[in-house]
Structures are given as structure tokens and as C-alpha cells.
Amino acid sequence: MSRHRDLMRAYDAELTPEEAAELERSLSDEDRRVLAGLEQVGDVVRACEPEAVARFAGVADQVMAALGESDVAESSGPEVVIDRGPVRPVRKRTTSTPVVVAGLSLAIAAAVALWVTTPKAPAPSAPAPLAASFASPTAPVSPSAPTESLPEPPDEDADLAATIEAVDFGNQPGSIFMVPAGEESTPVVWLEDEPAGARMEPL
């Protein structure tokens, strides 16, 4: 690899005289073939150079002109016309940018307005009103259940029936349910009592 690099540097006349002399002394037949190949490549490149130069000479000037930092008229190179097919009409930036900005702003404003006006959902962890479960008898509550704080039902329900807001069953199981009574309902607290004979009476 370094040998090839040395040969390329020698071909490009980048070696010092001492290095060039040393390389000249150590050239093998293979090295001479490589140098000959480089010469041929160079000939090909040089043959194509005028065409390539003519093709790309004006690109930089065109880019600068498009950026508004340079004037095409002051370009020193020959003007190159690149055929890119049918030319689309290009809109001026000054007209398209406000429309895009306006659209984005309106979208953001609409999103903000929607977010602000949307009613917030109740917290999922909020317990369901126990009064709603009154329609049918509920499962007995554990005897060790602590005092249950029951949220207030809607006013229309409160008008139809009394509302049990908290209950502590103590050591025995119990349940809460509603019993229909005509148009209204009556809340019931049902306690599971021991049979009278089995109850330990105080001494």
C-alpha cells in the first residue's frame, strides 16, 4: 500500500529529490507498469477535463446568485444551461412563508382552544358513588371494614331518598342496599347479627 502511495507521489512530483532518487533506484518492473498505468489515467483525465470544466464552471455562481449573495451578471465563468425538464413556476418566499406560519399558528391555537374547552375527565381513582349500587342488595361488607365515606349522590337522587354517607359495621358483616317504596326508595343497613341465644350477654 505504501509502495503504491510512493509511486503516486512520485508521479505527482510530490517527493523530495532524495526520495525520488531512492525510488528510481528501487523501481521494479511491476512499479514501472503501475507508473505507466497512472500516466494513462492522467491522459484520460486530461482529455475529459475541458468538457467537465465547461459543464460545471458556472454552478457555483448560480448557487451564489440563488442565495442572493452574488449576482449572476458578475459571474466570470461561462454560463451553463442545465436541462432539468419542464420548469415549474416557483413562488416567492415572501408569499408562501406567512401562509405556512398562519396555518401552523391556527392549528396550534385551535388545539389549545380545544384543550382548554374540553371538560376534564374525572379522576379514575375516584370511588363510585355507593348510592348508585343501592338498587340491589350488595355483598356483605367485611366485619373489619373501616368507616366508609360515601360521596354525595346527585341532588335529584338526594331528593328521592335519604342517603347513607358513612357506615361502620364494627365486628359483624353487613350490607347496604335500597328497597323500592313506591316512587321513592329507602336505604337499608342490614346487619348480620348472631342468634340471640348465641350472643354473649354482659355479666
Binding site: T94, T95, T97, P98, V99, V101, A102, S105, L106, I108, A109, A110, V112, A113, L114, V116, T117, P137, T147, E152, A158, D159, A161, A162, T163, I164, E165, A166, V167, D168, F169, G170, N171, Q172, G174, V179, P180, A181, G182, E184, T186, P187, V188, V189, W190, L191, E192, D193, E194, P195, A196, R199, M200, E201, P202
Partner: protein, 177 residues
């Protein structure tokens, strides 16, 4: 010039829309919760109401003795609905009026336990009130340590299930004036 107008108009819109939306939200919001009147006169008005209010406690004895529902109980459709309908006889053992006040009012039940009622609060609408009830066993453990009920005059709640003489006790507690 036209582009400059756009650049001025768009931020103005951006700022104005949420403000308008917030305004609408305020319009839709429910009215502020009515706070309890702190007027001392309101407290004075509550006093007579407390004095007038009471709980009427009907103690019923539910059995399956085939005697039917005591006519003294009055109209109580609940007794014909489950689970009360599992007993075919209801006898009125007592009907007691306990004045509602901030102090405990007690009555002794047929099984020896003591029912205690108390007025917790008269609601701001002066129509509803919160009362508490508990059932204690003298010199024994508390049977029903706590029960808090919100009701208005005429409404009742039932505490049932205490064993008594081959049946159960059914306490019908109604707020009355």
C-alpha cells in the same frame, strides 16, 4: 407589506384564541358553589329548626308467625319487598320520637341495646340534614359503631338484622318535624 401584515396578524390570532376559549370555558363552568352563609342571623335561624326536628323510630319485630303486617305500622311497601318479604309478620313494638339536636339522644331497644341519634348538620338549603346513628351494647361491644345519613323531613332509612325472639328487629328511622 402584505407579508408584514401576516406576521402581525398571526401572533395576534395565536394569542387571542386561547383567551377567547378560556372565556368560553368560564361561561360554561358551573356557578360557584354556594358557600355557607356566615351571617350570624343564619345561625340564629338554625336554632328553631333544630328544636323542631326529630327522628321517629319505629321498632318492628319481623317473624314468620303468620300474623301479617301490623296495621299500626302504616303504609310501608318496603316490607313486601325482598329481603323483608322473607318474613311474613311484622309487629310494631314501639314508636319513639327522639328530638334531634347536637347532643346524643338515646333509646333502649327491646334486645337491650341502645340506639343513639344525633344531629350533625343542617344543610344550607335548610331542607336536608345530616344525622348520625349508632347502636351500642351496654357494657359490651358496639354493634353498629357509626351510621351517617343525609335526609330531609319525611325521608326514612332502615336498620335491620338484629336477632330478637325468633326473628329480627327492624328499625325504621324517619326524620319528622
Amino acid at each position: 407589506m402584505r407579508a408584514r401584515c401576516w406576521f402581525l396578524l398571526v401572533p395576534a390570532l395565536l394569542l387571542a384564541l386561547p383567551a377567547v376559549a378560556e372565556g368560553n370555558k368560564g361561561g360554561k363552568a358551573p356557578p360557584a358553589r354556594t358557600e355557607k352563609p356566615k351571617d350570624p342571623k343564619a345561625k340564629d335561624e338554625k336554632r328553631p329548626a333544630e328544636v323542631e326536628l326529630a327522628t321517629e323510630v319505629m321498632v318492628l319485630h319481623a317473624t314468620n308467625s303468620g300474623k301479617g303486617i301490623d296495621s299500626a305500622i302504616g303504609k310501608m311497601p318496603e316490607l313486601k319487598k325482598p329481603p323483608f318479604s322473607s318474613y311474613d309478620s311484622y309487629a310494631l313494638l314501639s314508636k319513639t320520637r327522639l328530638p334531634l339536636s347536637k347532643d346524643d339522644k338515646t333509646m333502649t331497644l327491646p334486645n337491650g341495646r341502645v340506639l343513639k341519634t344525633k344531629l350533625l348538620e343542617v344543610m344550607p338549603d335548610k331542607d336536608h340534614l345530616r344525622i348520625s346513628a349508632s347502636i351500642n351494647q351496654p357494657k359490651g361491644k358496639t354493634f353498629l359503631p357509626l351510621l351517617e345519613v343525609k335526609a330531609k323531613v319525611g325521608q326514612a332509612f332502615i336498620v335491620a338484622g338484629q336477632s330478637y325472639k325468633g326473628g329480627i328487629l327492624v328499625l325504621v328511622i324517619r326524620v319528622v318535624k
